[in-house]
């Protein structure tokens, strides 16, 4: 009887018994993606550059493998089961051949669990372009695996101050790769250099130089070194910021007795005052849509960040947390601002969400300054004090990854992250 009932039951409700079981996965872990990197070649350190790029982005956990040279770059020889056992999601294999004074480099990005080739590229480059190629390859891998554009091929401009009791202080405007390597001097001076800022196309850098004993704003072409003076008004000529379309420059001038924001049309070099009143306004930065400027002002007492609607001239205060906020810049998506926040005497880099007003402090120890966000919004470069000197540092936008970048002896000041350069 039981069997009979069961049979009827099964006839009536077959779905309940033998249907595909439905499961729903909604929670995961916030971990770096494991990626295996098989050494490319004994001739160069390309795999090491890619390895540190990926590792330092915070998105990857790189596992370097010295694989047998001969078979390492052949997809057929890849032992997927081995990598799967190591729980490694992706593997980069490659090979380097020397052809005269050139390298012929091939590399493949493999999806271990899908057993498929995600990237398969081949380059022939002059030997000196190895580092640039390595960063380019890192960008390709990063984009393929995270869906976001990498910033390994971007650059950072900063001012290096080298003090020597026996010599005049040396100020250098330096442009390096985003990882701090491959630094080049753009300008060396015995007078202060300040506030470097990139043009939106990445071809020019505007900065303030005191080389003629007083402040003037210059614009310099990076490739040719050619430069021109933008402003040299009496008093302050400071804090230049390029408009998103590259046609205007917001600057700080003291044409009246207070520092005020002016917008300068680069075609005519004519400045137009946009903030007014008897208080100091400085450090302008354009919103990505070019409709507004944010700036630091002491109009409320202590310095705070305000936003100016360029069309209407309306000004509203943006920052309320901390007793001091300065050096603000928009995130690339325009939804947040990066600020230097002071609270109880501690200067830290923070990210403020403009929708919620939430402020996320990203650094610690309170001796940080000059935040500048990467064009993909993933990292923020800043200057900090370490070992008795100013060093170049980076922090990820979520605060999880912090890096100190290599730089020459001296104090690093005012890093500025470039836009995408290709």
């Amino acid at each position: 009887m039981t069997k009979l009932l069961k049979f009827i039951f099964i006839l009536l409700f077959p779905v309940n018994i033998y249907a595909m079981l439905n499961l729903e996965l909604t929670q995961g872990v916030d971990k770096a993606i494991p990626i295996g990197l098989v050494s490319f070649s004994e001739h160069n350190d390309i795999a090491d550059i890619i390895s540190s790029d990926l590792q330092n982005s915070g998105h990857f956990r790189v596992v370097n493998i010295d694989a047998p040279q001969q078979s390492s770059y052949r997809v057929q020889a890849v032992n997927y089961a081995y990598w799967a056992q190591q729980k490694i999601d992706n593997v980069v294999i490659g090979n380097t051949k020397i052809i005269g004074n050139k390298y012929k480099i091939t590399f493949k990005l493999l999806d271990v669990y899908g057993r498929s080739v995600l990237l398969n590229k081949e380059y022939t480059i002059p030997k000196k372009q190895l580092r640039a190629l390595a960063h380019h390859m890192s960008d390709s891998i990063y984009q393929q695996l995270t869906g976001k554009r990498g910033v390994f091929s971007t650059k950072i401009a900063y001012v290096l101050v080298q003090r020597d009791p026996n010599k005049p202080t040396k100020y250098s405007l330096i442009v390096s790769d985003a990882d701090g390597y491959n630094s080049q001097n753009l300008l060396v001076s015995s007078e202060p250099i300040m506030s470097p800022t990139w043009s939106p196309d990445g071809k020019n850098i505007a900065y303030v130089s005191f080389e003629n004993k007083r402040a003037a704003i210059y614009s310099q072409n990076i490739a040719s070194g050619e430069r021109k003076i933008i402003t040299k008004y009496p008093g302050i000529n400071g804090a230049p910021s390029w408009s998103p379309d590259g046609k205007k420059l917001a600057v700080v001038l003291t044409k009246t007795s207070y520092p005020k924001i002016y917008i300068l049309d680069l075609a005519t070099n004519k400045p137009q005052q946009v903030t007014f009143g008897m208080f100091s306004d400085t450090e302008p930065n354009w919103s990505p849509d070019g409709q507004s400027l944010i700036f630091t002002s002491d109009r409320g007492g202590a310095p705070q960040i305000y936003q100016l609607d360029i069309q209407t001239g309306e000004v509203q205060r943006l920052t309320y947390q901390g007793d001091y906020n300065a050096t603000a810049s928009f995130t690339p998506n325009g939804k947040g601002i990066v600020i230097l926040n002071r609270n109880n005497g501690m200067f830290n880099i923070a990210l403020q969400d403009l929708t919620t007003g939430e402020v996320n402090i990203l650094t610690e120890f309170g001796m940080n300054e000059s935040p500048s966000i990467a064009p993909n919004g993933s990292m923020i470069s800043y200057a900090t004090h370490y070992g008795g000197r100013g060093v170049l540092s980076e922090v990820s936008s979520d605060g999880k990854v912090k890096l100190r970048l290599p730089s020459q002896e001296g104090d690093v000041q005012e890093p500025a992250w470039s836009p995408f350069l290709d």
Binding site: L5, Q27, G28, A84, G114
Partner: protein, 241 residues
């Protein structure tokens, strides 16, 4: 099927009972009939002799007539008596028959009542048995379901620990994977049933599943059958601590 087997015996029994009752009726009738035969009324017949021819004849005739009349009267009387008696007997017979019928009917009614009661009891007992069996089955199913739910949770927990949620992924997209599992939990294959439209999410989901092999599955073969093929919907909602 169920009904036939349930009422088969009661039905046969009822049929038999009806037969017996009917036969009782028949037997009683016959006995009564015998009784009426033996009690038929006896009639005395008087014989006369002639003395004086004429007178006698007349007398005889008178007497005859008288007698005849008397006889006729007597006959009539006897006949009436007989009729009355017969009528009485008939009435009694009818009454008796009626009584017997009533008795039979009463007995029949009683039998029916008993039968109905018995049938109800059987039915009740059967229903109870069915209910018990159903309950047992439900209990069994519940136990199986609890086991299935337990392993579903274990599987999700395992995959969750291996699923690296792509950073900045949209929260309103999802993909579906069909996962084929061997006894013991070894994953045989993972097929993308529906893409999220984002290859990074799709890949992260598949990698997470394959990294979780072998999955925790029930040892019981019957319960494991439920886990041979899984439809996994992957929807990035949150990060586990």
């Amino acid at each position: 099927m169920l009904k036939n087997s349930t009422y088969k015996w009661p039905f046969v029994f009822a049929l038999l009972l009806h037969g017996i009752l009917f036969s009782f009726l028949f037997i009683e009738f016959i006995t009564y009939h015998n009784y009426t035969e033996t009690n038929k009324p006896q009639v005395n017949i008087i014989k006369a002799t002639a003395v004086d021819q004429a007178q006698v004849e007349k007398q005889i005739a008178d007497i005859k007539a008288k007698r005849e009349r008397k006889h006729q009267e007597e006959l009539a009387r006897i006949h009436r008596l007989q009729e009355a008696k017969l009528a009485k007997i008939r009435r009694e017979k009818a009454l008796q028959k009626q009584k017997a019928l009533a008795k039979v009917k009463k007995q029949q009614k009683l039998k029916t009542q008993i039968e109905t009661k018995r049938r109800e009891e059987i039915q009740k007992a059967m229903q109870q048995q069915i209910a018990e069996e159903k309950q047992q089955m439900a209990e069994h199913d519940r136990q199986i379901q609890a086991e299935i739910d337990k392993y579903k949770a274990l599987i999700i927990q395992t995959i969750s620990q291996h699923w690296i949620i792509p950073s900045d992924i949209a929260k309103n997209i999802s993909c579906q994977l069909i996962v084929n599992v061997a006894p013991g939990g070894e994953i045989l294959s993972v097929d993308l049933a529906r893409s999220s439209g984002n290859s990074i999410l799709d890949r992260s989901a598949r990698s997470a599943v394959l990294k979780s092999s072998p999955l925790p599955v029930p040892r019981n073969a019957e319960i494991f059958d439920n886990f041979r093929q899984l439809m996994l919907t992957v929807r990035p909602e949150g990060i586990e601590g």
